[in-house]
Amino acid sequence: MEKRSGLGIFLTKRLIKLVTLLVAICIVTFVLLELSPIDPVTAYVGASTKVGAEQRALIAEHWGLNKPPIERFMAWFTSIIRGDWGTSMIYRRPVLEVIGQKFLSSLALMAVAWTLSGVLGFVLGIIAGVYEGKAVDKVIRAYCHILISTPSFWLGILFIMLFAVELGWFPVAISVPIGVLAEDVSLADRLSHLILPSLTLSLIGISNICLHTRQKVVDILSSDFVLFAKARGESKRSIIHNHVIKNASLPAITLQFLSFSELFGGAVFVEQVFSYPGLGQATVQSGLRGDLPLLMGIVIISLIFVYVGNMTADLLYMVIDPRIKEGQMA
């Protein structure tokens, strides 16, 4: 009973934080976009000279751009609260529908990349930590340092050149084959389009997790409780299996869930490089073309996405480490 109410308080606090954060982020994004030199109407009609000044004014009026900023923000904000997210200017469809569709294809990309980087990073980190100072450790560490200093878009281009253009193993871009009807696209097609971008995206996360896990493993192996485990006759294998993995998983899990923001940021670059039609690309488009409703919608959704990631880390921490559970509940 007591425990349940503790969890309730924890979740309520988090919810309040989320709402205040959302309001703040909405205001900041709106102000930034307001200050940006991009004129939505010009962005919309493009360089075409056929559209006269009068028509431009009509479009602006239609979108409500002639009203003062504060009034526009309030109008947008109140409708958001009512559940109306508005219509995207560039896609001319409801914002939620656009986000929903884009998010789904991005989600596949991010999920694959996230799992891959988490598992690979953790395993490599454990290996490097256990063989600290040995050749394996040096190779893994060098690999991590190279990766960490490599921009993801550059890596993406490199992958396209090597695997798609030179070797022809994977398609160059987009999420489905060109010239095929949507209903004829097979799962294999989708997967082959997914591999390169998700691999690129996953490589960003590996180093971080790997290096942190490695350090944690080194710390654990020099801890008193591992010494005592040795004194009780546990073999190295048993120590790694029984003590190292669980203790090292704590920072790894936190990092992995905290990496949601980097994952999202990485997806923007990677989708751009691979012309992958996901949320990342939609973000770039809506920003460059001043599509305020869509951009604001994406900001809100991505904020919730990242926030849920962080909260999951906290919750999982409580499950794995009983000491934290007691601390949070008290």
């Binding site: 008193d224 409780f225 010494l227 005592f228 485990a229 040795k230 004194a231 009780r232 006759g233 546990e234 048993s238 029984n242 003590h243 669980k246 203790n247 794995i320 480490d321 009983p322 000491r323 007691e326």
Partner: protein, 311 residues
Amino acid sequence: MDKQPILQVNNLGISFSQYTKGLHRVDLKVITNLDVELYEGEILAVVGSSGSGKSLLAHAILGILPDNAVTEGEIYYNGKLLTPEDMERLRGDEIALIPQSVNYLDPLQQVGKQIKITIKDHEHQDEVVSDIFQRYGLKKEVENYYPFQLSGGMARKVLLAMALVSDSKVIIADEPTPGLDEASINEVLKDFRDIADTGRAVMMITHDIQAALKIADKIAIFYAGTTLETANAADFEGDGSRLRHPYTKALNRALPSNEFVPVAGTQPLPNELPHGCLYSDRCPKKTKKCEVERPRLKEIRDGKVRCLYAT
């Protein structure tokens, strides 16, 4: 001597190689000429101040010194010279360590499970643990506790139980008393006496002479990584005139129950040890000879002492 020691440490030396500036390697000798004997059914208290090499001795016996440690000398178990492989086989099985606190337990694993990991008889793990828990009055549910949930008393019993689940012949307890109140200390000491009375050999590492004197059969005095004296507990009775080494005598005088005079000076650091007798720079009986010659361990009155002039 008619009795064979179950564990005998002869002339143990431990040095650590360290890299100082650049690739310059320095061997730091932290233990020199350490000798200890353990007999079944007896408690040997290893007494010394911090840095005298007490814990390292325990780690050397178990073969769990860090990789950069180099050892010399011999360790015999049941008359047989121990190799590193033997140590690996014996530790946890025949030689058990009782650590100082629950900080030596995996913080993320329930204590019952941690005990079971080292029980080799997989089929009867549960029984063995419940038996020993029952013997020490620990409730069944304590098996599911995490180390941080144990109270002081429970923690002590759990650590004891861990050492006794195996058929260990030698129990090494590393600093079992610090931070405990008088009543708890007496309980701990009684536990050790009981263990020794079952025929096991107990080595109690401590810096608390008074606690050691209450239960130990023999006391080994460590100083700067060497054994200065091994005395019988009875030698400390009265004015301590039966003690052999000047340092032991001074320690005895420093006890609150005796004259309560502190011993002047401090133990030398491993990198600035005197050339001759390690105690020479503090010894009132020092002669020129003490400064050049390192005394051997000699037997006097059923005890051992490392002093040129001991009587």
